[in-house]
């Protein structure tokens, strides 16, 4: 798979030919600060130059797809948190929509809006971490501190909404875990207002900073053709100039109602991927503010889907029929027709797809997860060859992957 390195300049090759040099192999990771988790790169080096790069993945493999076959659709929701654990709310939403498509179930507008707002907040949270970690990788520690301060505010809001900061488990098939608390949308709006100037302040630390540009401009260039060939999606593909965004191309959960722009890069280098993430955050704030401005009332779960979404608690406590229904949905699972469905959502890291095959009943027969980080990392053997070893760090930072999702 890896491309062999060849010197671009014949003179350079001739100059080094007289030295008898040996190639060195270096294992980078699995616990290396810049591999963002447990990725291992088996590098072959010629001096400082990488001549071969073999990613070794699977350290975080938990067999999520097999686990899904052994539990009801709702029981699997906590496992989706642990795919891209930087943006669990977006995974929760993508999974719930995939299963709902199987049942041809449409959730009410309020539920859609809540999911959309939380998914965009998850995007902010993910990009903030992505930029912060990219900053550290390229020597700008301060950025990380500032982005984490903002993420903490988001975590407070997630905590209030779902009861957990990190592992939110918020979606249910046909609805949500619970409705938004009193005044929550107002607090999200207030967060957005104070966030915009801080975002500009953070981006100003990097965008026209020559040190940062020296580390990223022209480093790790992914051409448009390569991006397509390797199945790269999300900000990484958009950085290469591909205007692909499922929120626009195949809108779900009401994205078609809101106005936002899709930023694309021009050269596909690490710097472009940074620029795209920065602009996407501005656009996410735009979407959240629009969604809050026309936040719909009404029910927050599919009230008519009585075999899918469990009845409200006070009914369970007072009526025999609802009590039995509750037991049925929990033990048998939400009742799905036989069939198969593939749904993909535009997650912060790229396209997250769920392929669900059902033979009827409340348990999937097969559940396949198409994770963006896995596909985005597939280009590493090509991308790293010929670059300096310190550039590998910048390239990894710019790809913004998460191993929980890659290994799943």
């Amino acid at each position: 798979m890896a491309t062999e390195f060849s010197f671009p300049d014949p003179a350079a090759k001739a100059a080094t030919a007289e030295f008898e040099t040996e190639k060195m192999s270096l294992s980078m990771g699995p616990s290396h600060p810049s591999t963002h988790g447990v990725l291992r790169l088996q590098l072959e080096l010629d001096g400082e130059i990488v001549t071969k790069c073999d990613p070794v993945i699977g350290y975080l493999h938990r067999g999520d797809e097999k686990i899904a076959e052994n539990m009801t659709y709702n029981q699997f929701v906590p496992y989706t948190d642990r795919l891209d654990y930087i943006a669990p709310l977006a995974n929760n939403m993508a999974y719930a929509i995939a299963v709902e498509r199987l049942a041809k179930l449409e959730v009410p507008a309020r539920c859609q809006a809540i999911r959309l707002i939380t998914a965009e907040m998850a995007r902010l949270s993910s990009h903030l971490l992505g930029l912060g970690a990219f900053g550290i990788d390229t020597g700008a520690w301060t950025v990380f501190m500032y982005t984490f301060t903002e993420r903490e505010k988001l975590y407070k809001l997630f905590e209030e909404l779902t009861g957990a900061r990190f592992t939110t488990s918020y979606s249910r098939i046909g609805g949500l875990q619970r409705d938004v608390p009193e005044g929550w949308t107002g607090r999200v709006d207030a967060f957005c207002d104070q966030f915009l100037p801080i975002l500009e302040e953070i981006l100003a630390l990097l965008t026209r900073n020559k040190i940062f540009m020296d580390r990223t401009v022209g480093v790790g260039v992914i051409t448009k053709e390569d991006a397509i060939a390797y199945g790269i999606t999300g900000p990484n593909a958009r950085g290469s100039g591909l205007g692909l965004d499922l929120r626009k191309d195949k809108p779900y959960s009401g994205y078609e109602q809101y106005e936002f722009d899709v930023p694309v890069g021009t050269t596909g280098d690490s710097y472009d991927r940074y620029l795209v993430r920065g602009e996407e955050m501005r656009q996410s704030v735009r979407i959240i503010k629009q969604a809050i401005a026309k936040f719909p009332g009404g029910p927050w779960f599919a009230t008519e889907a009585r075999k899918i979404f469990a009845p409200p608690k006070d009914k369970v406590l007072t009526s025999m029929e609802e009590l039995i229904q509750n037991f049925m949905i929990v033990t048998e699972g939400p009742q799905m027709p036989a069939g198969e469905v593939y749904f993909e959502a535009e997650n912060p890291k790229g396209v997250l797809g769920f392929y669900v095959v059902s033979k009827g009943g409340g348990v999937p027969w097969r559940l396949k997860i198409r994770s963006p980080s896995f596909c985005n990392l597939s280009i590493l053997p090509k991308l790293c060859v010929g670059s300096l070893i310190s550039d590998v760090v910048a390239i990894l930072g710019s790809l913004d992957f998460v191993m929980g999702e890659c290994d799943r």
Binding site: M71, N74, Q75, F76, V77, P78, Y79, T142, Y146, T149, E152, K156, E159, E160, T162, G163, A164, T167, S169, Q177, R178, P181, E201, A204, L205, R208, N209, K210, I211, F212, M213, G241, G243, E259, F260, D261, V262, P263, V264, G265, T266, Y271, D272, L275, V276, E279, A310, K313, D314, V316, L317, T318, M320, L323, N326, F327, V330, T331
Partner: protein, 179 residues
């Protein structure tokens, strides 16, 4: 509603000297220096826990002191990592709450397995199990990290009850019109 290409203007001569970026960076950090700290001196200072927080799962009693769990084992079934183990028991016929018939003889939650997902609370048909405010647990042994029934009730305490379902049932039965 459009695709916007991100432009990059070449750096000016001044910007190429590194100085403007360094100076504006310093300005930002000094401005931040004067702001109040965002961090907490944990554990002396503790974060505020919002209502509905998903902390350690606990068992609760109703305001009359009756243990609410009827050991239906629905939470044991739903728990994704299989952290709950229940041994059902009978309530003796001469007890004041004999109409409830069942209560757990043993109820263990292994906190090394629990993932704080809240599904147990969500499915419980008796509002007997709640994830409450406690978020930090520690112990020296694996055995210590298993919360037994007594500990679960101690952690859970008493929560208000909207329905008093079993008291109503008893009253209805005494009036001869059960169900």
């Amino acid at each position: 509603m459009a695709i916007i290409p991100l432009e990059r203007k070449p750096l000016s001569l001044a910007e190429r000297t590194y100085l403007p970026a360094i100076l504006s960076g310093l300005k930002t950090t000094f401005k931040r220096l004067l702001k109040p700290a965002e961090t907490l001196e944990y554990p002396e200072q503790r974060p505020a826990i919002p209502p509905g927080y998903r902390g350690v799962p606990t068992l609760v009693r109703d305001p009359n002191g009756r243990e609410k769990c009827v050991s239906c084992q629905l939470c044991e079934f739903v728990c994704p990592p299989k952290a709950i183990r229940i041994t059902p028991g009978e309530i003796p016929a001469d007890a004041p709450t004999a109409q409830v018939e069942k209560a757990p003889k043993a109820f263990d939650i292994d906190m090394l397995r629990c993932i704080y997902c809240g599904l147990c609370q969500e499915v419980c048909p008796e509002e007997a199990i709640f994830l409450q405010n406690q978020y930090s647990m520690s112990g020296y042994t694996r055995a210590e990290m298993v919360n037994h029934k007594d500990r679960l009730y101690e952690l859970g305490g008493t929560l208000p009850d909207q329905h008093f379902k079993w008291d109503k049932k008893k009253a209805a039965a005494e009036h001869g019109n059960a169900h």
